[in-house]
Amino acid sequence: MKINALEVDGFGVWTELKLDPLSEGLTVFYGPNEAGKTTLLQFIRSVLYGFSPERRRYLPPVHGGQPGGSLWVTGQAGECVITRHDSLDPGQPGDELLLFTADGARHGEPLLKTLLCSIDEAIFNNVFAVGLRELQELAVLKDTEAAALLYNLTVGLDSVSLVEVTRELAGSRNRLLDAGGPCQVVELLAQRERILGEITESEALSRHYAALAEERGHLEREIARLEDEKQQLGREVRVLDVAASLRERWQKRKALDQQWAALEPAEKMPEGAVERFDAFTGALNKRHRRLVEIKRQWDELRTEAAGLKINHALVKNAPRVEALQEQEHWLAALEAQSLELQTEIGEAQTGLKEEQSRLGLGEGACPPLSPQSLAAMRRPARAMRRCRQKLEEARAQVQQAEETAQALGEKIQSALAARGHKELGEATDRAGGLVAQLRRREQLDERLQQMHRRHVELEQQTQELMDREMLPVAIILGVGGMFVVGVILVLLKLAEFILPTSLLGDLGWPLALAGLVFTAAAVVIKFLLEHSNARKLEATQRQIRILHQQIRETREERDQLDRQLPASGPAPAQLQAAQRELAGLEELVPLDAQRQSARQEAEAAAARVQQAEADLAAATRRWKEAVAAAGLPVGVSPKQVRELAVRCHHLGRSSERLQHRRQELRERSEELQTLTGRIGQLAKEVGVGLEARSPMDQLHAMAEELGRQKVQLQRRGELAKRARHLRRKHGRLAVSIARIKHRRRILMDEVGAADGREFRRRATTFQQAQALRQERELLHREIESAIAGQATEAEVRKLLEEETAAGMEARRGQVQSRLAACEAQLRLRLEKRGQLAEQLRLLAENRTPAVKQLELATVHKRLREALHQWQVLGVTAQVLETVRKGYEENRQPECLQEASAYLSRMTEGRYQRVWTPLSDDVLLVDDAAGKPLPVELLSYGVREQLFLSLRLALAGSYARRGAQLPMILDDVLVNFDAKRVRAAAGVLCELAATGYQLLVFTCHEHIARLFEEMDVEVKELPDHAESRPVAALRRADRKPRKRKVPAAGGTVGLPNRAAVTAGRASGADGSATDRNGGSSRTDRKVGSSRTDKNVGSSRTDKNVCPPVTDRNVCPPYAVVAAAEHAETEPAAPSGEVAREPPAPPLEELAPWEEDKSEVAESEFADEDGDEEEPAEERDFEERLTEDGSGGAEAA
């Protein structure tokens, strides 16, 4: 976009200022201080981006005029005019933008944004339209797109900060290994050293164990020696003790030896000879006693055998007796059966007689009842039973029906008696008639009431109709009005014939016709209304007459009913009582019907009784005939016949059983007689039981006697057997006595004894010798057992024969004390050995070395891992550092490369390069030696040259991206020395030559002159403080360049200011067109050539004055401007260029001369009254300073 012209309607000190045309390249505006250069800069900002609060301080215009103005621009949408005005009314919305294209179409913010290539205000204010203050505030670009152009070294596809990554790596490495603070590796090293020390200590375990083991071996040997000594001493003590304890027995054994030696030598006595001799003697004595006993028993046997008597006949017939005895039970059974049969026969005869008498058969035999005869009697018996049942049922029904009828009749009679009636039907009819009359009476009353209400309504309706005979006022007025209008219209038409002028014009006849219609309609309506009312009134009166007739008839009927009804109270009460009476009587009607039904039922049941009695008589006759046919007595009943049929078979069987029993009784009597004869015959033969009363007793007596005879026979056999046994024993005893005597003789012969006495003497001597020998053997065994295991016999003999008892006791005491000392030493060494064993066990089980080895290995592992991680982090950091250096050297942003070229030219090679490190969004400047310097260390002038270079480079960057906007530079060269101003001017000229539009404001005449020398168009701003009406412009170039301007009055042209104003006033949507046919381009031509080089002498000579208007003079603004100027620069009169401080050679300032440059900065900042910092901006910067994020940049 390029600005072709501008027109200030009113903004700050400017009113009706027109700058037209503007060069497409470089244009320099010269004006002294307070000339309004910054105001123009702010005006352009305001038109493009609106009246921001900080720019509203230029409003309202000092010299009047409508706030705002217009810019004529050429951009992507062609030529456009941008107009923005402010209403200044707090109640109205703020500024208003009008944007018209060449075709006259109005547009809005979107097109303006397109023209501005989407450059936002911050970028425009700090890159394209900059003053001295904005130029020095590079930090303002932070967080803007421009910053990315400068510092995009650290951003890109990675989307991470290399610095952050490096910082992270450093932090991680420091956590692993850091000499200054706690870190993992150092801690692990410390742990390693500690564990190594512990391992070194644990390695002494083996040596300690070996020493202890050796000590234990020495101790074991000592213990063995002491145990041997202890054993020796103990043995010695035991020998002494044994010898002492054996002293007495030793002496006794010695004495026994001497006694045994003193005995005479005895005869040879065979072993056991005495015992055998005694045994022989004892055996002989025993056998003699047994012989005596056998003889005594023999005598007893003979005596007992002589006492036994035997019945030989009985013994001979013993089988017969036993055979009869076996039939004893049979005999008893026969007797019992005979008796039982006799009893049974008697009972059967008695029972048979009773049964015959009970059945009515008498003593005779029972007649035979065949099935046929029974079947013939079964039918008459059944018929007779059914007839009898029917008769009983009929009689019961008759009785029940009569009882029911009697009960219902009593109930009805009692109810009627309670109501005072006798007959139910009569009472019911009377009550129903009364109820009907009372209901009719009530209906008549209701009808009378309805007719009265209808009469009242008809009376009211009649009254209303009579009232309507006079039409209502509204209808009368409406109809009358219609009539009057119609008449008037007719009269007006008629008046045309009289009057010279027509009152109704061309509508005369239609209106007259309408008047006639209205009049006729009014008359017809009135007639219809009145006729309708009369007809309705007549109908109503006729209805009233009919109603009167009906009322009269109804009353007559009601009176007649009243006369018929008993006068016992009001009609409703009578009706209710009558209804209750009728309801009570109606409840008795069903009971009466039931009573009638019961009577009819009783009559029917009586008929059935008579019929049943006839049937029963016929059935009885048939039964008697059947009984007679069966041979039975005529008087038997069917029940008796049925019992007879059942018992007849039973009586037959009883008679047969009786005969059978009599036969059986005869057989049993015969058998009993045969058996009794046999018993009597046997008793006679054996002579036993003859005196018995019954055969059974005889048989018992023979059996008992036979038993006794058998016992005696058996006893005699036993006695004979014992006699034979005693005889054999006597023989054996005699043989044995002879054999024993022979053997005793042989024994005595062996000893040499002649007899038994001598044998006894010799045996006594032999036994004494044997006793001495046994005693000596016993003592010897005791001594040996006492010595056994303790000492040898020789040692004991030596001690007992050589030492006395006292000597042995003294010697034992000595040995015992030595033994105690030895045991004490041994105990000590055993305890020591136990302690050593425990220590050795603990050492042997000590696993500390392995545990420490494990811990050491773990620490080594962690240490290796940490060092490996540290290596990885270190290598990563090294590689990243290499990458960073490469970026900073070779991959600086293009914008900075271009800025480096500008800076190098402006500083004539003193500073070669401006670049940004990867680590931060800061700028560094390399001097000619390549030494990087931070911006803060540069002198004030060099910094401004740097910042100007950056702005030009940024503008170039935006231009390459398609966003080419004019650059407005406001006094940005004031701090440059002459050489660098020239160099900067050259840069600007070259930039303009490449197609950039540059508007340069300067208050320095030498700068303006310099640009003039470089054939740049220089325009001088008018001094608005003077009383000249319009600021004049002059062209510095002697060859004014032509600007492309649309043809005046063309169909396609920019709207003129009037159209713009009209459009703003009407709020048109842009479709309004300039009727005057285009704009007056000549109105915008306000500039003129500048010819006078003496810029500082007289401004009137340098300007072409526009027509004077009152709006250019504004005393209040002059006062305000003077006051502001007095505050900012009290000693300097406005517009005195001669008071400007000479530009110091800033590039030569050393860094430590920063204070001077700051002073110079403040001085320059206050030089122009328009540069005073608004309060809002100051506050904003203070906030930035307080804010941590923006503090550095703000500083």
Binding site: D158, L162, D178, L189, Y209, E214, P849, K861, V879
Partner: protein, 410 residues
């Protein structure tokens, strides 16, 4: 020449002084097994000798370091030797690097069935069965000295089966022509057999793996010699703690759930394959996707590790996950190397260093001044080629992760 079969057990490198290590964090419930695993494995070795009814046991050095085990080690060995002595089983022991015979303590007297080869000179023993020589065993303990060379070993002139027992690095090709029937070698913790016919040289490996770098089953070798002098060696595992290095390869689209499922499946398979043995598993995840970056930088690896440990590491026997790391380096996307970004420049610079092996990488400047002359000085120089490549590979992954701006550096 033996006419009867011979069975013996060959073992080496018991290293009773070295607990199982190589992990950064020791779980309390596994501390005992880590400490005692060499002894428990050695006990299993001796039980194997008894169970297999071997005739003799050959120990090829490095049984224990007496200084580091304390008295527990030699007493343990003596007790085990005595168990063999009760069954009449002879032990032939050649000392290794850490167990020279001269250093054997006097308090642990070796039983008579233990025959120790002297240091520095060759000695032979004739092993007899029922008075008949069965095998000729010759060997030497370390230090070997100059006088003991491979050519000093020669077969038995009488034709007896010859066993040479020696510890250390040897050239199998130098041993092959010596005619020894069985070279019982020691000094290699991994089981290997350089040659096996007609003669045999064999390293049985350590009975117990001690670090993640010693994965798989460990044990001893049961050697059976038949009447024709044919040697058949059978591996018998003795370890009580087994190390595993498991690599899980995932495709680019795989996510954490896929990885977790694969890990669980794999660890279940390992447990089923080795029931009754504690497992120590080191996981390496190979993935070219974002999962690898998440594993390297985020908390995902720690979460997965915690899950595996809590589910499988606390049981009895345990399957403890030692570590879980993502494979770095060659799996980075190739297009990253071509991008005109800081990451691209970084990766290109790393690749240049990887290709320029002669260009030194020195980190002394990064080392704090007091530590430059200490034990850490070597860490500042990447002079080992493998270490250098590993560090560069991980640096490439780390830099790529950091410059990708996905997650903060944990």
């Amino acid at each position: 020449m033996p006419n009867r079969p011979l069975r013996f057990v060959h073992a080496s490198d018991l290293h009773l002084e070295q607990p199982a290590c190589g992990i950064c964090e020791i779980p309390d419930h596994l501390r005992e097994v880590l400490v005692e695993s060499p002894f428990w494995a050695a006990e299993r070795l001796f039980e194997t000798v008894l169970a297999e009814e071997a005739e003799l046991l050959i120990l090829s050095g490095d049984a224990l370091d007496l200084d580091k085990t304390g008295p527990y080690g030699p007493l343990f060995l003596v007790s085990q030797f005595e168990r063999l002595a009760e069954r009449g089983i002879d032990v032939y022991w050649a000392g290794g690097r850490i167990d020279p015979p001269a250093g054997w303590p006097s308090f642990a007297r070796l039983p008579s069935n233990v025959h120790v080869f002297p240091s520095g000179r060759l000695e032979q023993f004739l092993h007899q069965r029922d008075g008949t020589p069965m095998v000729r065993i010759l060997g030497a303990s370390r230090p070997l000295g100059h006088e003991v060379r491979a050519k000093d070993f020669s077969p038995d002139p009488g034709g007896l089966f010859s066993i040479a027992v020696i510890h250390g690095k040897v050239n199998p090709e130098a041993l092959r022509p010596r005619g020894i029937d069985y070279w019982a070698l020691g000094g290699n913790h991994a089981r290997s057999t350089p040659f096996s016919s007609p003669q045999t040289a064999h390293w049985p490996g350590s009975p117990q793996g001690r670090r993640p770098a010693e994965p798989g089953p460990h044990g001893c070798s049961l050697v059976q010699v038949d009447a024709e002098r044919h040697v058949r060696s059978t591996f018998i595992p003795c370890d009580v703690l087994r190390w595993h290095e498991e690599q899980v390869v995932l495709d680019e689209a795989a996510g954490p759930k896929d990885l977790e499922r694969r890990l669980h499946d794999r660890i279940k398979a390992l447990r089923e394959a080795a029931p009754g043995i504690d497992l120590m598993v080191s996981w390496t995840i190979v993935s070219s996707g974002r999962l690898a970056a998440r594993l390297r930088r985020g908390s995902l690896a720690a979460e997965l590790l915690h899950g595996l440990r809590s589910q499988y590491g606390m049981t009895q026997p345990a399957a403890w996950s030692v570590s879980l790391s993502a494979e770095a380096g060659p799996m980075l996307p190739a297009q990253w190397y071509e991008q005109d970004t800081i990451r691209g420049d970084f990766l290109r610079e790393v690749r240049r260093l990887q290709l320029s092996a002669e260009e030194p990488i020195r980190l002394e400047a990064d080392l704090p001044e007091p530590l430059r002359t200490g034990p850490l000085a070597r860490a500042a120089v990447l002079d080992d080629a493998a270490d250098r490549q590993r560090v560069l590979r991980e640096a490439a992954a780390l830099g790529a992760d950091l410059l990708s701006g996905e997650e903060p550096l944990s």
